[in-house]
């Protein structure tokens, strides 16, 4: 009853469900290992917006800082270049200083910022890790390894059958394609997870807590109604795509020169959600606003009159 001796169709009828099931089990292991879990951690309403942005991911943190500085006119857009504007306020935090210095010395893209802000990103990662919201390297390693080993063993079984089939001069094309396709799953499982399950729950709770900020940010024409801190928080909670309805779509194109047409979120490190969403990506767009549809009649009063 050695499966490697089975006929091709018999083997495939076992192997296809095994490969799919194995991948799902590996994802489940990965999810379960993202510890600690539990209910959302309470963060005060005056929480640091950059810490929230870092909880979503390093890319979101960088865009939140740049967005907030542009909003405060400390940075400005010159065509497709980010330049310094007004003086950096005395109360600017370290990551703001780093971005300001980066803008003062050359072109700013996310890749440039990622190198320039390496210490700031590490600072926020460590802070969030101490709170149990983000995984440290020690915990992240087995989390990538263990599910990959489980899933890799199934891939190896398929690979072994390919060699057996080749040695017996049997057609193996379909199985080869299946193994190659299945190998893509290793890329998913090998990604470094960013948040813990506690971090997921906390970010989800923060997004729910700040639904009013999301409503305002996506309303359009609301940029001046928010201050720099609130712009950073909106980007941190609901993703860099928030910069578009806030009137900074050119900034997104400048930060992402290779994908200027892209408008979605970019850089979350989490398994369960991306920066483009509230809660689970795909279930809602960052540019929709609940039931708040605006339907005529808004301009009250008329002809110089009013209501």
């Amino acid at each position: 009853m050695n499966p490697l001796d089975w006929q091709g169709p018999e083997f495939l009828s076992l192997y296809v469900p095994l490969l799919i099931g194995g991948f799902l089990v590996a994802l489940l292991i990965r999810h379960l290992l993202r510890l600690p879990a539990g209910g959302p951690m309470y963060l005060s309403r005056r929480t640091d917006p950059y810490e929230v942005a870092a909880l979503d991911g390093p890319g979101t943190l960088m865009e939140a800082v740049v967005g907030a500085l542009i909003h405060r006119k400390v940075l400005r857009l010159e065509g497709r270049r980010i330049a310094t504007g007004e003086a950096l306020p005395a109360d600017a935090v370290s990551v703001e200083r780093s971005v300001f210095e980066c803008a003062a010395t050359g072109d700013v893209t996310l890749e440039v910022l990622r190198r320039a802000l390496i210490h700031d990103i590490e600072y926020y990662r460590r802070r969030l890790s101490q709170k149990g919201l983000v995984l440290d390297e020690f915990r992240a390693r087995p989390l990538r390894l263990l599910p990959s080993l489980v899933y890799g063993a199934i891939l190896l079984l398929g690979l072994a059958k390919v060699f057996v089939g080749l040695s017996r001069d049997r057609p193996v094309m379909f199985l080869v394609l299946l193994v190659l396709l299945g190998s893509l799953g290793l890329l998913v499982l090998g990604r470094r997870p960013w948040r813990t399950r506690l971090g997921d729950a906390t970010l989800k709770a923060l997004r729910e807590e700040h639904q009013a900020l999301r409503t305002t940010a996506v309303a359009g024409d609301a940029s001046q109604a928010l201050d720099g801190r609130e712009v950073a928080l909106a980007v941190g909670l609901f993703g860099p795509a928030m910069l578009i309805p806030l009137g900074y779509s050119n900034l997104r194109q400048t930060l992402h020169p290779s994908s200027s047409s892209s408008s979605g979120g970019s850089s979350s490190g989490s398994d369960s959600s991306s920066s483009c969403s509230s809660g689970d990506c795909g279930s809602s767009s960052s540019c929709s606003s609940g039931g708040s549809s605006c339907s005529g009649g808004g301009g009250c009063g008329g002809g110089g009159g009013g209501d």
Binding site: E208, Q224, S295, G297, G298, G305, G306
Partner: protein, 295 residues
């Protein structure tokens, strides 16, 4: 109706965050035409309702001043939204917005006369019967008047209040605009407002273009409406007042300053009232003092 108090702010999506972050707001007004009656209420409004912030449903399209009775579907929608919001009252304008199926797109003035008052009073009664909460009627700003009005704005307002049981939403910005553009006697209107019928006051900004003042809701509130609010508070005592802002949304600091200015205008009016009461005690106080003095 549970009386409103303090300073409120009109809910717009652009101000949803500001309103959510402002614990000191006395009440919030929501535009009915901005809500989809078949969709869930926006999460920030649900949150305000859960926090117990008094909500008022404000409508602009009922057309109570029209010759036709108010559309039952619009009334049903308003009633449904009022229930879902837990609104303390519904407010609408003393205006007409359509005739024979044609929408004006503006709030147009009602001719000031007995015939119009009769129609208006009947429409108000129909609306009140369909709504689950009290109805408040708002004076509008207009750039023109119908020819040969048979009464003043103050008399018209007093007549409307006497013919219906509706409450009054007094818009001091509209009053200010009409005073500048049409020469309306704003003081007479203020003097005609009974405190027990006043639901709340609207305050909004505007801008002068040439000889005309436009009540835009998109510019800072000038001193004129604040002075009228102060005069009203000097006559009636503390009144609930709400800032309307529909466009060119200001920075958080500017908005907070406008809310403080409204609060300060009411406080000045109340202080004036108290000072006048000290100088000229009310008759019942005099009578009480007189009886105390008698052996």
């Amino acid at each position: 109706m549970k009386p409103l108090a303090g300073v409120g702010l009109g809910w717009r999506r652009q101000l949803a965050h500001r309103i959510d972050q402002e614990p000191g707001l006395g009440f919030v007004e929501v535009l009915a035409e901005h809500l989809n009656p078949t969709a869930p209420l926006p999460a920030p409004l649900l949150r305000l309702r859960e926090r117990g912030v008094p909500l008022v449903l404000h409508a602009v399209s009922l057309g109570l001043g029209g010759a036709e009775p108010p559309d039952t579907r619009r009334l049903d929608t308003l009633a449904l939204l009022a229930k879902r919001l837990g609104a303390v009252c519904v407010s609408e304008h003393v205006a007409f917005v359509r005739a024979d199926g044609i929408e004006s797109g503006h709030l147009l003035p009602v001719p000031r006369g007995d015939e119009a008052l009769d129609v208006l009073a009947e429409n108000v009664r129909l609306a009140q019967a369909a709504l689950p909460v009290p109805l408040a009627l708002e004076n509008i700003a207009t750039l023109f008047e119908w020819p040969a009005p048979s009464c003043t704005e103050a008399e018209f307002l007093a007549g409307l209040l006497s013919r219906t049981s509706a409450l009054l939403l007094l818009d001091v910005a509209n009053l200010y605009a009409n005073a500048l553009n049409l020469g309306t006697d704003a003081a007479a209107v203020l003097a005609a407002v009974p405190r027990e019928r006043l639901a709340y006051v609207h305050v909004a900004g505007g801008v002068r273009h040439g000889t005309l003042y436009h009540d835009t809701h998109a510019h800072p509130v000038p001193m004129g409406p604040l002075e009228l609010l102060e005069a009203l508070a000097a006559r009636l005592g503390p009144v609930p007042a709400l800032l309307e802002r529909d466009d060119h949304f200001p920075s958080p600091e500017e908005l907070a300053a406008e809310l403080r200015a409204i609060d300060a205008a009411i406080a000045r009016g109340v202080a004036r009232r108290e000072a006048e009461m000290v100088q000229r005690p009310e008759p019942q106080v005099m009578a009480a003092r007189g009886s105390e003095a008698r052996p």
